[in-house]
Amino acid sequence: MNIVVLVKQVPDSGAERTLSASDNTVERASASNVINEMDEYAIEEALKIKEAHGGEVTVLTMGPAGATESIRKALSMGPDKAVHVTDDALHGSCAVATSKVLAAALGTLNADLIIAGAESTDGRVQVLPHMLAERLGIAALTGARKLTVDGSQLTAERQTDEGYEVVTAATPAVVSVWDTINEPRYPSFKGIMAAKKKPVQTLSLADLGIAADEVGTAGATSTVVDFAQRPPRSAGTKVTDEGDGGAQLVAYLATEKFV
């Protein structure tokens, strides 16, 4: 099976994050950047499928030059090669434009299975997988917490608020995964060394036949007009339980009319 994993580099959600003052886009240059956490689960799932059914795993990333760091990290887990779509004109791309670029890149890769994270931690938009399926005219099985591959037949348990849905489709398809699906492996030393030599193809917008003004800030379909840090919450009352902590808590809840 020819599998492509979508890997996004994002600012570390455990560190300080902000928007750039000049154009209100996510500040990536000065941020501490990591692989979007959910995408590590996508990589793991791809590797497991390859191990069980054979095939090849390609990492696909759209991002600035510095995203190569995350690509090498992804490759150190075990994928065979990577494609990096990078172009200065992509800075500030909205989800609609990102899906256009990734769909064009996927058009060159002939994948049976495209695996993505369910959402990215920077935008948390959760829309890319269905946008790609829409553009490519292929099936989408999103929000999977379990995936079974039987020949060209895919079955996924899709997590819902009520429980789950069982969904099925044939390849080619886009699957997106939650962190409940597996436990991503740690790169081995051998994996890290091997990753340095794995092929990483870079593609520009021109390579994909996309004009600069269709993407980036120029082609953005939405814009941030105002940005403000929310004042941090301040600590309120703190009491130490001396045997009446529960009663005190409820007394507080009562003054706030919750009980």
């Binding site: 959600s13 455990g14 209100n24 909205c94 989800a95 899906s99 369910a118 931690t121 935008g123 938009v125 959760q126 829309v127 269905h130 946008m131 399926a133 989408a140 999103t142 929000g143 917490r145 899709r158 997590q159 608020d161 009520e162 429980g163 789950y164 849905e165 069982v166 969904v167 099925t168 489709a169 398809a173 953005a220 379909t221 939405s222 814009t223 007009v225 105002d226 940005f227 403000a228 840090q229 929310r230 941090p232 919450r233 600590a235 309120g236 009352t237 703190k238 009491v239 130490t240 339980d241 902590g245 529960g246 009663a247 808590l249 409820v250 507080y252 809840l253 706030e256 919750f258 009980v259």
Partner: protein
């Protein structure tokens, strides 16, 4: 006034979800709300009364197995056709997985911008969104096409505004490509009669400190006494104490209730990401240095196995 399409979130068991009523309320600032019901045969009729009560002048019904039996794509097609024919001022959807997915497909179909997770929407289509774990607030606008905006549950208080609620059946014409992913089974996992996590006005969450799946009964019991939903930290979910769909935080649900109760939760930044816009936060933790106390309006330093049962008794006494 132009129509504003509100894509209804509802289920047979829960009825019309609160976020739908919020959307109908928000929609009035931009035009006349029309509800769009997408589901099996008879779905619109079941929800019509409630939708009309909250201001739906028209109720478009996109119904049938072709809509209900496949994942998301047919729904997006039905909404896209409707947008082309009624030329609405905006389309509002719920910020749920499915709402966002329909929105994404719709944006591609119409070559239109979209905004997700809005907590407010002005008459001119400017949306307010919390970003980066709620640590910052942005105002944004769709600059290409009409505003397609997903609204986060608990963004506003629904206000009734009775309207006609005339049901209009839509012709559902979906392509084979829309039917590539079949839904073969829908399984409900136990939740009891508790409110939906993202919509609840009170959420009681347990963390690693709760220490076992069995002990989560304590959390459930306290939630039930307050009429709230149950949430869990990732550590609690990863330890198998509680199912993942109840996880609050960066990689779980974002909640913004009137009251959030954190029991045995340290308050890591990724957990805060899902709850720090709650109106009132209270916490019980035995570690006085736990970061959760930095944002708690009221904190009790103590053993939750002593504090919570006592608090439960106290609530019962006051009832």
């Amino acid at each position: 006034m132009a129509e504003v399409l509100v894509v209804v979130e509802a289920s047979a068991s829960a009825g019309v979800k609160k976020v739908t009523l919020e959307m109908l309320t928000i929609a009035r600032a931009l035009g006349t709300p029309s509800a769009v019901v997408l589901g099996g045969a008879g779905a619109a009729a079941a929800f019509a009364e409630k939708l009309a009560e909250y201001g739906a002048e028209k109720i478009y019904a996109g119904e049938g197995d072709e809509v209900d039996g496949y994942l998301v794509a047919p729904k997006a097609t039905v909404v896209a056709e409707l947008v082309k024919s009624v030329q609405p001022a905006a389309v509002l959807l719920a910020s749920t997985q499915e709402g966002k997915e329909i929105a994404g497909r719709l944006a591609v179909k119409l070559d239109n911008g979209l905004l997700t997770d809005a907590v407010a929407l002005d008459a001119d289509g400017t949306a307010t969104q919390g970003i980066f774990a709620g640590s910052a607030v942005v105002k944004s606008k769709v600059t290409k096409g009409l505003p397609i905006v997903t609204i986060r549950p608990n963004s506003t208080t629904p206000v009734a505004a009775p309207a006609a609620g005339t049901v209009e059946q839509l012709t559902v014409a979906v392509s084979d490509t829309d039917k590539l992913t079949k839904v073969v089974e829908r399984v409900a996992e136990k939740k009891g009669s508790r409110p939906e996590l993202t919509e609840a006005s009170i959420v009681v969450s347990g963390g690693r400190g709760v220490a076992s799946a069995d002990n989560f009964k304590l959390v459930e019991e306290f939630a039930d006494l307050l009429g709230g939903a149950v949430g869990a930290s990732r550590a609690a979910v990863d330890s198998g104490f509680y199912p993942h769909q109840f996880q609050v935080g960066q990689t779980g649900k974002t909640v913004s209730p009137q009251l959030y109760v954190a029991l045995g939760i340290s308050g890591a930044i990724q957990h805060r990401a899902g709850m720090q816009t709650s109106k009132t936060i209270v916490a019980v933790n035995k570690d006085p240095e736990a970061p959760i106390f930095e944002l708690a309006d009221y904190g009790v330093v103590g053993d939750l196995f002593k504090v919570v049962p006592q608090a439960a008794d106290e609530v019962r006494k006051r009832k």
